[in-house]
């Protein structure tokens, strides 16, 4: 009902929206729309993507930082040396970096941050990023030496995450409500339930951003988001919640539609503890029963890239394995018959996002076509985390795994797939201690192929990033290699 109304609203708007916005002087403020409000503003404590979408690269910075293309670039460390054995990283920090509270950023702050993140009572949501760190030492004011207990090819990548941003010991405890970082913008206020405001940091060490004020506003309802864009209350909505109206924004010269990719591998997860799903033939049958393009068209309004394994298509090491499991209901029925699982009935748990709820209905219909009955349960995130993810009490579920480079989850036998495969675990263990790029590529290819050929889960599509912005704004990230709304390079063009 709500969706129909959104469409109706979308259909009526151009008829009524003939009044042009008057030309004004170049603006230096921006209102950015987000669907979910961050629960707090400390990216080192809490898993919500919304925390990073507000603070990453704007308020907080790490030793390294992600660029718009997902590359790892220098951040607060302008350079680093890696010892020949790959175990010692020496970071050279930038000079003249000042926290928003006026205190200088030094090697001691880096030591504090990394020790805090891996400490006993750390509430960091990504402990695996710091798991390889043995010691962190300040060699002088601006030099930090990190020693690892094993080689880790992804260490610099790990240090670019929002969970690894550098904090000051004086302000770390209050960052949840009053974040103090080193970034180009400093926090000014948070009207809970409505918006977070920040202003340009005059003491920023790098190039000053063009924007003077940035306001993130939180609008959950798709119709409201549409209206807010149309009325000009919101200037940019990087993850726009009403994809059905994107065509209309595309046709309107006042707006630009920005479609990019994310790290979200959207999969039909399977529980290998289920007796039927433990049979590789049943899993293969499900893989053949799924029609990826129909799901993308039906659930994502055509936005999204089919995937055949757990890897981001924009990554240079990606292998396109979609041909391994073409849509083939006939083959699926044969495999099910062979496995003796005709008349199979499975539970399908669907978390709240549209890709899961809408996609789930389509998947259920496609499975019904090959003779698998599904019992759909809609669950909230908290319930999904407890029952499906931690409890393993499910058969099938649909979820987008948004962490970058997370193929290693298939090597964790206690992970909610309950997939225990010594060969694959060996591959990932080897990958973890390999830093030679060519060898890493070979191993990553082998890993992608392994899970695809074992049909570990149903690989569906890469989650797109579909955004809308005022056509006069430039510098927004097109892709989302990590959850972030980096405002450093954003400016108005007129």
């Amino acid at each position: 009902m709500k969706r129909i109304l959104t469409i109706a609203l979308a259909a009526l708007a151009p008829l009524m929206a003939l009044v042009a916005t008057p030309a004004t002087a170049q603006r230096t403020d921006i209102n950015v729309g987000m669907v979910l409000e961050p629960p707090n503003l400390d990216p080192t404590s809490g898993a919500a993507a919304a925390i990073r979408e507000v603070t990453y690269a704007n308020i907080f910075e790490g030793l390294t930082r992600f660029g718009p293309d997902g590359s790892v670039n220098p951040g607060l460390a302008h350079a680093w040396d890696i010892s020949d054995d790959g175990l010692t990283y020496t970071f050279h920090l930038r000079e003249g970096v000042i926290f928003h509270d006026g205190s200088p950023m030094t090697a001691a702050d880096v030591v504090f941050t990394l020790d805090r993140a891996r400490g006993e009572d750390s509430t960091n949501a990504q402990p695996q990023l710091f798991a390889a760190i043995e010691t962190v030492e300040a060699l002088d004011e601006l030099t930090v030496q990190v020693t690892l207990n094993r080689q880790q090819g992804s260490f610099l990548f790990n240090m670019a995450w929002g969970d690894a941003v550098i904090l000051s010991p004086e302000s770390a405890a209050d960052n949840a409500t009053n974040p103090v970082g080193t970034g180009p913008f400093r926090f000014t206020r948070w009207v809970q339930g409505d918006r977070v405001e920040m202003e340009r940091n005059p003491d920023y060490w790098g190039e000053a951003p063009a924007l003077e004020r940035v306001t993130f506003r939180f609008i959950q309802d798709p119709s409201a988001a549409f209206a807010a864009m149309m009325a000009g209350d919101i200037d940019a909505f990087p993850n726009f919640p009403a994809p059905e109206t994107l065509a209309q924004f595309e046709a309107d010269p006042r707006f630009a539609v920005i479609v990019g990719s994310t790290e979200g591998n959207t999969i039909l997860s399977m529980n290998h503890e289920n007796e039927a799903l433990a049979d590789v033939r049943v899993r293969q049958a499900i893989a053949h029963a799924i029609n990826r393009q129909d799901i993308i068209d039906g659930a994502m309004f055509g936005y999204g890239t089919p995937i055949g394994t757990h890897f981001a298509p924009h990554n240079p090491d990606y292998l396109d394995l979609t041909d391994l499991t073409p849509h083939d209901p006939e083959r699926a029925r044969e495999l099910l018959a062979e496995a003796g699982h005709e008349g199979l009935s499975l539970r399908l748990a669907l978390p709240p996002p549209g890709y899961a709820r809408r996609g789930g209905e389509i998947v259920a219909a496609q499975l019904r076509e090959v003779g698998i009955r599904t019992e759909i349960t809609n669950v909230e995130w908290a319930q999904w985390l407890e029952q499906v993810f931690r409890g393993g009490d499910y058969d099938l579920t649909i979820v987008s795994h948004t962490e970058p480079m997370d193929i290693g989850i298939y090597a964790r036998p206690d992970y909610y797939f309950r997939y225990d495969d010594a060969d694959f675990q060996g591959l990932i263990a080897e990958l973890d201690v390999t830093s030679d790029p060519a060898e890493r590529t070979a191993l990553l290819h082998a890993a992608q192929r392994h899970i695809a050929e074992n049909f570990v889960v149903g690989f569906m599509f890469q989650l797109p990033k579909t955004g809308v912005a005022n056509a006069e704004i430039e510098g927004l990230w097109e892709n989302a290699p990590v959850p972030a709304n980096d405002m450093t390079a954003v400016r108005w063009t007129n």
Partner: protein
């Protein structure tokens, strides 16, 4: 009057105790652990346990219930799990939106409904009355969120007189916030005004048929004098009941309108807190709403007694 008020007070305290038990235990059995939700998919079990301890979730459920009720009695609602700020502050900030919105919508409701209802009653059976009855029927039938969207489409997108939503905050001045609340208040008020106008009309018509009105007319009062001086006061009892219900409904039930206009009110707070398993916020806000509804009922009961002296004597 005093005994009447005391007996009402006693029964409402009992209602509050029962409500607190139901709210707390029903919400606590919902599946989904707040600490795991906050830490997401990659957290270690020790980290989740540490956060649970920090939030006090490792205490037995009865201990937590007593701590919650005890805290509320002393005005301390506890600390929000997700926002990590006192729940009292959160509620106060949200009431700063919800309460003005409710009062604004209710004032609009009364300002529209009273004259419309009186005119319809006074011109009973005429074309004007039929028109009013048809109009109010439509007002009740139209879903308020749909009406809200039409308002946004016309006044925000086309004319650009108003923002499509949002709330600037009281520190930005008075009128700018009244302006921000205008479209939501109108959207909320239209169906309520339609209901109230119809109640008003039938209540006035009923009293107009009473003997004392005939007596009043017989002693020489004009129709208008009879309505305003005698019928209105007696028609007010059912109207007051409805206004009381409408106040509670508007305060607790504006959640959809708050979503359409992305207003940071109480409804959105509950909605968000439920999905984030910020149980203490859900419990406290629901409790507060129950308290508000019970208080409004109590005040309406007292208002009955003020309007109708017979109630005072009976109690």
């Amino acid at each position: 009057m005093l005994r009447y008020a005391l007996s009402r007070l006693l029964s409402l305290s009992l209602s509050l105790v029962v409500a607190s038990l139901v709210i707390f235990f029903v919400i606590e059995v919902i599946p989904g652990d707040p600490a795991s939700y906050m830490l997401g998919m990659n957290a270690r079990p020790e980290t989740v346990a540490a956060l649970s301890r920090e939030l006090g979730l490792d205490q037995p459920i009865f201990t937590r219930y007593l701590a919650w009720v005890g805290g509320m009695l002393t005005g301390d609602f506890g600390t929000s799990y997700t926002y990590r700020v006192p729940v009292g502050d959160l509620i106060a900030a949200r009431l700063g939106v919800s309460l003005p919105l409710t009062v604004y919508a209710l004032l609009l409701t009364i300002v529209i409904a009273f004259p419309v209802g009186l005119i319809a009653a006074a011109t009973r059976g005429s074309a004007l009355d039929a028109g009013i009855m048809g109009g109010t029927q439509l007002g009740i039938a139209v879903p308020n969120f749909w009406f809200a969207m039409l308002l946004v489409l016309f006044f925000a997108i086309t004319l650009q007189w108003f923002s499509a939503g949002g709330f600037p905050g009281w520190d930005r001045g008075f009128w700018i916030n009244i302006k921000a609340l205008t479209l939501p208040a109108v959207a909320l008020a239209l169906p309520q005004a339609s209901i109230l106008a119809r109640v008003m009309r039938s209540a006035v018509i009923e009293t107009l048929g009473q003997d004392y009105i005939r007596t009043a007319r017989a002693k020489g009062l004009t129709s208008r004098q009879a309505v305003v001086g005698h019928a209105l006061r007696n028609a007010l009892i059912p109207v007051l009941t409805i206004i009381g219900l409408q106040f509670s409904f508007l305060l607790a039930g504006a959640i959809i309108i708050e979503n359409v206009f992305f207003l940071p009110g109480l409804g959105r707070l509950i909605f968000q807190a439920i999905t984030q398993r910020d149980l203490i916020v859900v419990e406290s806000v629901v409790m507060l709403l129950v308290f508000a509804v019970i208080m409004v009922t109590f005040l309406v009961d007292l208002a009955y007694a003020a309007v109708d002296p017979r109630l005072r004597r009976r109690a």
